[in-house]
């Protein structure tokens, strides 16, 4: 799996469906909780190095979508493929290439920063020594090397989020999911995360899907998916989505598309 992890960087792993090399493809995905339909026929694609903002109000279906992609529950219709691996049939291959930063804080506060990262590396089957090298690199990139030995409890909210990003990258995923990662963070921490993910997409070709309800986080260099009441209303590069909506800004485009006022 780990070898695949690096070799398959561009979808070229032996045995992988050849015609599909895209990092993430979602097709015809619907999901309901009893009567309530959370997602309706959702389809979109993420290319290599794409930084896609998944924009929607609270309750639009963003978390449901992430729960399905991370296999927290199984989807019953449509398909989710990571580098061609359908997550239902080949969860191991798919999940090995996926890194996730969850909406809620998921660090183990009883453990040190390093212990949290080692634990994650073990879950991905990494040998301890290699895990040590990788996690030091990731933690250095988020500027927290001097906090490695400290309990996660002593970190601020922004620092915890940075550790979570570092953790999501320890197994070198090619697709990164971030579910409202800036909620509750101050301006500086938010900017740091945005810049960090931008760098990951640009320099390492990681495909990132960043869920947010904050229109301000959607910059014109990104792609955007507007999700509203379980449906995708628009998808594409931000300037194109604005143009197609006959709007002058993303905020105006969002309001026009959804008929509601965004934040």
């Amino acid at each position: 799996m780990l070898d695949l992890n690096t070799e398959a960087a561009d979808g070229g792993a032996a045995g992988a469906p050849a015609r599909e090399a895209l990092p993430l493809v979602v097709e015809g995905l619907s999901h309901s909780f009893g009567e309530r339909q959370a997602l309706r026929e959702v389809s979109f694609k993420l290319g290599r190095g794409d930084r896609t903002m998944l924009l929607g109000l609270n309750g639009a279906g963003k978390t449901t979508l992430f729960s399905l992609i991370t296999r927290l529950y199984n989807h019953r219709s449509g398909s989710i493929r990571i580098f061609g691996w359908e997550i239902k049939q080949k969860p191991s291959e798919a999940l090995a290439r996926l890194g996730v930063v969850f909406q809620l804080a998921t660090l183990d506060l009883e453990l040190s920063v390093a212990q949290n990262l080692y634990y994650h590396a073990a879950l991905h089957g990494l040998p301890r020594r290699e895990a040590g090298v990788r996690l030091r690199r990731e933690i250095e990139r988020v500027g927290l090397t001097d906090r490695l030995r400290e309990h996660a409890r002593t970190l601020s909210g922004g620092q915890r989020r940075r550790v979570e990003i570092a953790r999501a990258l320890v197994h070198r995923p090619r697709v990164l999911l971030l579910d409202e990662p800036t909620v509750g963070l101050d301006v500086a921490s938010r900017q740091f995360l945005l810049d960090h993910v931008r760098m990951l997409c640009r320099e390492e070709g990681i495909a990132a899907l960043w869920a947010t309800h904050l229109i301000d986080e959607v910059d014109s260099a990104a792609r955007v998916i507007v999700l509203h009441r379980g449906r995708i209303l628009a998808e594409g590069p931000v300037p194109e989505v604005i143009r197609r909506a006959n709007a002058s800004s993303m905020r105006e485009a969002f309001d026009k598309l959804t008929g509601e006022r965004g934040e």
């Binding site: 009893g34 609270n58 927290l72 019953r76 996730v100 073990a122 089957g125």
Partner: protein, 268 residues
């Protein structure tokens, strides 16, 4: 996915559980209070009430606290097993389960690893209990402390798997009080933990049959025999068989597509 990945993953999960235990010694010791109350107070009060005859694996008349010690160890691992498996179901939405479940290893393996880790901690508790019980007149043969280890692991896995299965499929078991009333107490009292089953048989044949069908009875007997350097094949067979059955049911019940969240109506 190679065997070495599986090994590293389980080692990591057990290592984390051990670290958490080291960081939370208070909780670890608090879990020992309940069985110690039974041993130090209940058993003393009943010491001369119950006539205990010579029954295997004992070779002589034994005081009551010696009889119930294996049952109380069973209680420790049952409580811990149930608690850890219940938290796995209830905490599915919380961080620790979410981070666990994005591991590329199969879900059943992650669940089993998590149970193994919790059982190892509860086995440590059982040994601490045995250490304290030693000063209360519970003196099993010195070598008995070794074979009781695999017996505790096996019994712990079986009870944890039962807990995971029950909490995955029975919606009503939404708090620990429910589990205490409907699972732990009935299983504990309808077993050989507190009294030899021949006394139950003399009083009520039907209840005796229920006790014999109770996997917890066999878990206790497996521990009791192992502690006295004996192997109880029947108990082993029932415990191992129950483990397989409960584990399969638990893994099926834990299917995320049919889990609690979906049935509850979901949370966005």
């Amino acid at each position: 996915m190679k065997a070495v990945h599986y090994y590293r993953c389980m080692r990591g999960i057990v290592w984390r559980e051990a670290l958490r235990f080291l960081n939370q010694r208070g909780r670890f010791l608090a879990a020992l209070v309940r069985p110690l109350v039974w041993l130090l107070i209940f058993a003393t009060g009943f010491r001369f009430v119950l006539g205990v005859s010579i029954i295997p694996p004992y070779q002589t008349y034994i005081p009551y606290q010696v009889y119930i010690a294996p049952g109380l160890i069973g209680m420790i691992i049952m409580f811990q097993g149930m608690q850890s498996s219940l938290s796995m179901v209830w905490d599915r939405e919380t961080g620790s389960m979410r981070t666990l479940l994005v591991s590329p290893l199969p879900r059943w393996y992650l669940l089993v690893s998590k149970l193994v880790a919790a059982v190892i901690v509860s086995v440590l508790q059982a040994y601490v209990f045995l250490g304290i019980a030693y000063f209360w007149g519970v003196h099993p043969p010195r070598l008995g402390y070794l074979p009781v280890f695999p017996a505790l692991i096996l019994a712990g896995m079986m009870l944890s798997a039962l807990g995971l299965f029950l909490s995955s499929v029975i919606r009503q078991l939404e708090n620990f009080a429910g589990v205490m009333n409907f699972v732990i107490f009935p299983m504990f009292f309808a077993s050989s933990a507190l009294y030899p089953l021949w006394t139950v048989q003399q009083a009520n044949e039907r209840l005796y049959e229920i006790c014999m069908a109770n996997p917890f009875t066999h878990a206790v007997e497996l521990i009791r025999f192992a502690l006295y350097e004996k192997f109880n094949l029947e108990a082993f067979g029932v415990v191992a068989g129950s483990l397989v059955v409960f584990m399969v049911l638990a893994v099926l019940g834990y299917d995320p597509g049919r889990g609690l969240i979906t049935r509850r109506g979901g949370a966005e």
